[in-house]
């Protein structure tokens, strides 16, 4: 792994620091020299979200001297259920500003380096070279592969964690002799075959559990203590509270760290993951109706059939008293609908219902419209008492 500095003069601890870290200093696995290694270490966290929150807080508390964070996002109300570095007052602020405030308050001895940018192929190598270890708390496949490749190319260990609903994975990739993320998964799944967090949700404590495992591995790497997760994939099932591990091997045919490397520089990761050019939200081209126009029709007692294509658990949160057929069930339940009536289809934001409208139009329904902005727009513009989710 990267050379982690021996105690440099600047890593000498002040009396205040000695007191702060006393519970480390009396442990034989850390001691003064270990704490000085922590102070000399430079760790870069990618993302200040679910995984990044506990990662940064514990690394900061532990006395990792230089802590970098890359993030360009803003704190959203729905983040607070799991992104514990941010508070209610921070909603609307940059995650970096919010995280910096908490970390400074936690440990004024930290050297914080905040990078208000998206990690890209253009900046990753330069950024990674300034750090010893990279901790990957990102949320999407293109950035996962970017972080991995940049770690391999710069020789920095990649402390990996990933979550879905109530399951998580953790490992350490790209150590000198260990496997990398591509050894495990040479290619990402094509979009569509693995559901995302937004579809599946995520248990709020799970990023805490996995992020703390990442922080633990990071600190072990710095101290040179214990058995790292390099070469092992830890699988965590929070619901069953089961921890399993699988053996990982360095793949000799790996395109980025194998014996015949074909990837020797960073590539276009969005293209690699098959999502290039798909930024446009779906369904802009189906006939639509605004929430105001729907309200007028309902007030005028017009004959409008409201079709809700969300899932039953979403209907439970809020609804327009519509007829519920989840989008996935629509093809087999289409016979429940009357094509002679005017139908307004809606979902949460308008994406799924646009697909429903496209499907229904194709199936011979000529009087079907998509509710622009979904029930969220209704809650914002028509009924402020309705909860948003």
């Amino acid at each position: 792994m990267a050379t982690l500095a021996e105690a440099k003069p600047e890593a000498v601890l002040s009396n205040d620091e000695i007191l702060r870290y006393s519970r480390h200093l009396i442990m034989p696995e850390v001691r003064m020299d270990g704490q000085q290694k922590l102070k000399a270490a430079k760790v870069l966290c990618i993302g200040a979200g679910g995984l990044g929150s506990p990662l940064a807080l514990y690394l900061g508390a532990a006395g990792v001297g230089t802590l970098g964070i890359v993030d360009f996002d803003v704190v959203d109300y729905t983040n607070l259920q799991r992104q514990i570095i941010h508070s209610t007052n921070d909603v609307g602020r940059k995650k970096l500003d919010s995280a910096a405030d908490k970390l400074k308050a936690l440990n004024p001895f930290l050297n914080l380096r905040m990078f208000d940018t998206k990690l890209t192929s253009a900046n990753a190598l330069e950024l990674f070279r300034e750090f010893d270890i990279v901790a990957d708390g990102t949320d999407n496949f293109p950035t996962r592969y970017l972080v991995n490749d940049a770690c391999v190319l710069t020789g920095k260990p990649n402390v990996y964690g990933s979550i879905f609903r109530f399951e998580g994975q953790a490992s350490v990739f790209a150590t000198e002799d260990g496997p990398c993320y591509r050894c495990l998964y040479p290619e990402p799944p094509p979009p569509g075959l693995v559901p995302s967090c937004a579809e599946g949700g995520v248990l709020g404590i799970l990023p805490g559990l996995i992020g703390v495992i990442q922080a633990t591995e990071t600190i072990k790497l710095i101290l040179g203590q214990g058995d790292s997760l390099a070469g092992r994939l830890l699988l965590v099932d929070a619901l069953g509270m089961k921890f399993r591990e699988l053996k990982l091997r360095k793949n000799p045919d790996c395109p980025v760290c194998g014996t015949h490397r074909t990837i020797t520089g960073l590539i276009d990761y969005e293209e690699f993951c098959g999502i290039r050019g798909q930024e446009e939200p779906a369904g802009n081209d189906v006939p639509a109706i605004s929430v105001e126009a729907l309200k007028n029709k309902l007030d005028a007692k017009a004959d409008v059939f409201i079709l809700d294509v969300r899932e039953p658990h979403e209907y439970q949160i809020c609804n327009l008293n519509g007829y519920l057929i989840p989008l996935g069930d629509l093809p087999k339940r289409v016979n429940e609908l009357d094509s002679s009536r005017e139908i307004v289809a809606h979902c949460k934001m308008g994406g799924r219902s646009a697909k429903a409208v496209a499907f229904l139009r194709q199936s011979g329904f000529s009087k079907v419209h998509n509710l622009t902005g979904g029930i969220t727009a209704w809650a914002e513009k028509i009924d402020p008492k309705m909860p948003k989710y």
């Binding site: 996002d73 999407n140 996962r144 998964y185 290619e187 979009p191 693995v194 967090c197 999502i275």
Partner: protein, 131 residues
């Protein structure tokens, strides 16, 4: 009879079961038994040519099948097969939403072009609209 562990992202295609017992002397036979019991899993595990997808890793106990005899790996009594798909969550809703929208587009685009309908729409709705 070997047990196959189904990861949560794929449980919606296995009748919500976390593990399934299927007959089979080899990994290949057990996986074939699994998709016979749960046909919806098939396209998530296999390509159209019938090969296991590259982003789906299959483990026998704690060992990657690729470093054993792959699908010909012989199973013993009590062996556990784990399907370990890649997951990417960190998790941020805005970007995940963008990702989901992207994948819905892709799903529709992957469908065969129907007669007399725009090629971006799907002739096989039970496939195309399924989540």
């Amino acid at each position: 009879m070997p047990q196959i562990q189904i990861p949560s992202p794929l449980r919606q295609y296995s009748g919500k079961q976390a593990s399934v017992h299927v007959p089979g002397k080899t990994v290949g036979e057990a996986l074939a038994g699994l998709v016979a019991q749960h046909p919806d899993l098939k396209r998530h595990l296999y390509t159209e040519e019938g090969k296991l997808r590259t982003f789906v890793n299959v483990y026998v106990n704690d060992e990657d099948m690729r470093y054993l005899q792959k699908e010909a790996t012989v199973l013993k009594d009590g062996d556990t097969i784990s399907i370990v798909p890649s997951i990417a969550g960190g998790c941020c809703p805005q970007r995940a939403r963008f990702w989901r929208d992207g994948l819905e587009n892709r799903r529709l685009a992957e469908c065969p072009a129907p007669r007399a309908v725009a090629s971006s729409q799907c002739s096989s709705p039970s496939y195309g609209l399924k989540f």
